[in-house]
């Protein structure tokens, strides 16, 4: 195999798991993968105490923390549009979702942005991990999240609208990065308003 990140050839060790059970073939070498830093598991949701978003999300899980290597990974994946890089974390995402139960809902993009980028980076991560998902949300009006302060973000009118049928069960929201948590909370709130009982949030990166 050729490492997607550094381009050098590598061999992935055969494992019993691979032989008997299903495992997605590694697409990056050990040396490159070791530079990503696992995120600590504790999440502080205290920021949302007292706001109308309190309790919208029941649990948050992130796989990696945002370090320099992750920054350059995201740059190549999202801005240089290297779709192939979606495969790098495929096995780990698959493993994580295996243990969860509920309907997976990726955070959507604006249609205009999708045309420019030519692919939905959140969906592609799930596709490569062979995780089935449903598009139940759509973004409302065009407004850039990154340029707002946290307070502005929280008080903004709903970012998402529901496009599908929401039943009383668990939903798993998925996004590439969790920074302030506003996006996730907005999405979770909308789903709960429409009758979802439990919302779990999963992101690849904790910003």
């Amino acid at each position: 195999m050729i490492c997607l990140l550094c381009g050098s050839p590598f061999q992935s060790n055969p494992t019993w798991r691979k032989l008997i059970l299903y495992e997605i073939e590694a697409s990056a070498c050990k040396r490159c993968l070791s530079k990503f830093e696992k995120a600590d598991t504790k999440f502080d949701l205290a920021d949302f105490k007292g706001t109308r978003y309190e309790g919208a999300i029941d649990s948050v899980t992130s796989l990696y923390s945002y370090n320099e290597v992750m920054q350059s990974y995201l740059h190549q994946y999202k801005f240089l549009q290297d779709v192939a890089l979606a495969q790098v974390f495929a096995e780990e995402l698959r493993h994580l979702f295996e243990k969860k139960e509920g309907i997976v809902v990726p955070i959507p993009m604006y249609p205009e942005k999708l045309l420019l980028r030519t692919f939905a980076q959140v969906d592609e991560l799930l596709n490569s991990a062979a995780v089935p998902f449903q598009h139940l949300l759509a973004k409302t009006a065009a407004s850039e999240q990154g340029k707002k302060s946290k307070k502005e973000r929280l008080e903004a009118s709903p970012l998402f609208e529901v496009t599908g049928k929401i039943t009383a069960q668990t939903f798993i929201l998925f996004d590439d990065i969790y920074t302030t948590g506003t996006t996730m909370h907005h999405a979770a709130k909308v789903l709960k308003n429409f009758g979802a009982t439990r919302i779990e949030a999963i992101t690849l990166i904790k910003g």
């Binding site: 549009q81 290297d82 779709v83 192939a84 030519t118």
Partner: protein, 442 residues
């Protein structure tokens, strides 16, 4: 016709999304036939018995390696789309992207070139320079085979000036950004009235039509039929010799009948030119330092145990004590990172490589551990060099010659210690030593 657009696109093959011109301007020039459109990727199907093989070619970088293409469902063209991962850092080229080529008369530069250089060439340099000039004027490819530290760049000046005066567009290409950054101010000084562009990854936008282009070989992916004369400096350097697309890039960037000239210290056998000249003396006239071999049996095991082999330790201590700056070349990044002690170290992914080398030059640090990244292009006064694991594959004879060429480059210190610590002597090591001794005899 938009003149700026003509100047920009002449000789280029450029991704539409990356042009600094408004959409309507480009559309108008496409309609009038000034711009020719080419798809980003060509995919051909061929039959191999029962299989259908798909072969893709990137029309910008000419990559055909199937490992470096990726297929995905594209939201823009709403079908399966292939993109090239090889040249992705210059903006992604996919099946549905459009490449622009200038299809009408080429832009021309102003013709008021001035040559301001009053340096002196040694008689040997003079001879080589004249031979090169003769080849350039006859449009015959020329190989300038010059030892490390011979003063190669100066030799090019007369040939470049002569070409510019004939209204020709000239390109000087080198595989590494460091080299381009070093050449740019020198060329600006020597050709003050010429529009010169320096192109490398992350270079700022430069306006106008450049009669003289200094570019990394990578940047030549974005040129087609542009140059009347091309010089490839350090033609033996990584990644130029290892990457076929880079060699194609140079031929593609030059016009069909243009001669390509090479400058190198260690020509590979595949480099074929009509004429040749050899410059076997350094500009200061002294012999090249000849490497000595010293055994360092089982160094990997000792280093893994966290111990620097005694001989190497002595060598390092000896240099530090006598206040001589030194470089230790190591074969792998792992070995570099795990090397015991707290000597500063640099490798390709190191963010402040330049600063660390500067510190060595200013004698703020005693020495430096490095990988082959520093094998060429750097000059440190009175530096002594050790290669650890000289028998390893990465140290080819040309790499070893280049590494040896770091020593004794200045007038004041024309000598210096160059030692290959090894676990067994290889042909490559012998070849390097023989080549250096051969030049000294000439």
């Amino acid at each position: 016709m938009n003149e700026q657009l003509q100047q920009f696109l002449t000789g280029r093959i450029w991704l539409r999304e990356h042009t600094p011109f408004p959409r309507e301007v480009i559309d108008a020039h496409i309609d009038s036939g000034h711009i020719h459109l080419k798809p980003g990727i060509d995919t051909r199907l061929s039959n191999f018995y029962f299989w259908q093989l798909k072969k893709s070619v990137c029309n910008r970088c000419h990559n055909t390696n199937p490992n470096l293409f990726h297929t995905f469902h594209c939201a823009r063209c709403n079908q399966k789309c292939i993109y090239c991962r090889h040249c992705i850092r210059m903006g992604r080229v996919s099946s549905c992207s459009e490449l622009l080529l200038w299809n009408k008369e080429h832009a021309r530069g102003a013709n008021g070139h001035v040559f301001e250089w009053n340096g002196q060439l040694t008689p040997l340099q003079q001879k080589a320079s004249e031979e090169l000039l003769a080849s350039v004027q006859q449009n015959k490819s020329h190989l300038l085979h010059a030892v490390c530290g011979a003063g190669k760049t100066e030799l090019l000046f007369p040939s470049i000036f002569a070409s510019l005066q004939e209204g020709k567009r000239v390109c000087v290409a080198a595989p590494r950004t460091d080299v381009i950054l070093e050449l740019f101010p020198r060329f600006q000084k020597v050709f003050p009235k010429t529009t010169i562009h320096a192109l490398y990854g992350g270079a700022p936008d430069q306006e106008g039509f450049a009669e003289l282009v200094l570019a990394t070989t990578h940047q030549l992916y974005r040129f087609k039929n542009a140059f009347d004369v091309a010089f490839v400096d350090e033609a033996d350097a990584f990644p130029y010799y290892a990457d076929e697309t880079l060699r194609l890039a140079v031929t593609k960037a030059a016009k069909k009948d243009a001669a390509i000239h090479y400058v190198t210290a260690t020509p590979t056998k595949s480099l074929k030119t009509i004429n040749q000249s050899i410059l076997s003396r350094r500009y200061h006239g002294h012999d090249l330092p000849v490497p000595r071999f010293d055994s360092l049996w089982g160094y990997t095991r000792q280093l893994n145990r966290g111990k620097v082999p005694t001989k190497l330790q002595q060598w390092i201590e000896d240099k530090s004590k006598n206040n001589i700056p030194f470089l230790v070349f190591l074969p792998t990044i792992e070995m570099l990172e795990n090397f015991p002690g707290n000597l500063p170290r640099v490798h390709a992914e190191h963010p402040d490589r330049k600063e660390t080398v500067m510190q060595l030059r200013e004698k703020k640090i005693p020495g430096l551990l490095t990988t082959t990244i520093l094998e060429r292009g750097i000059t440190i006064e009175n530096v002594h060099v050790a290669v650890v694991g000289a028998e390893q594959k990465i140290f080819t004879s040309s790499a070893l010659i280049q590494i040896s060429g770091r020593v004794g480059r200045s007038f004041q210190y024309p000598k210096g210690d160059i030692v290959f610590f090894h676990h067994g002597i290889t042909h490559e090591m012998d070849e390097a030593k023989e080549a250096i001794e051969g030049w000294n005899k000439k």
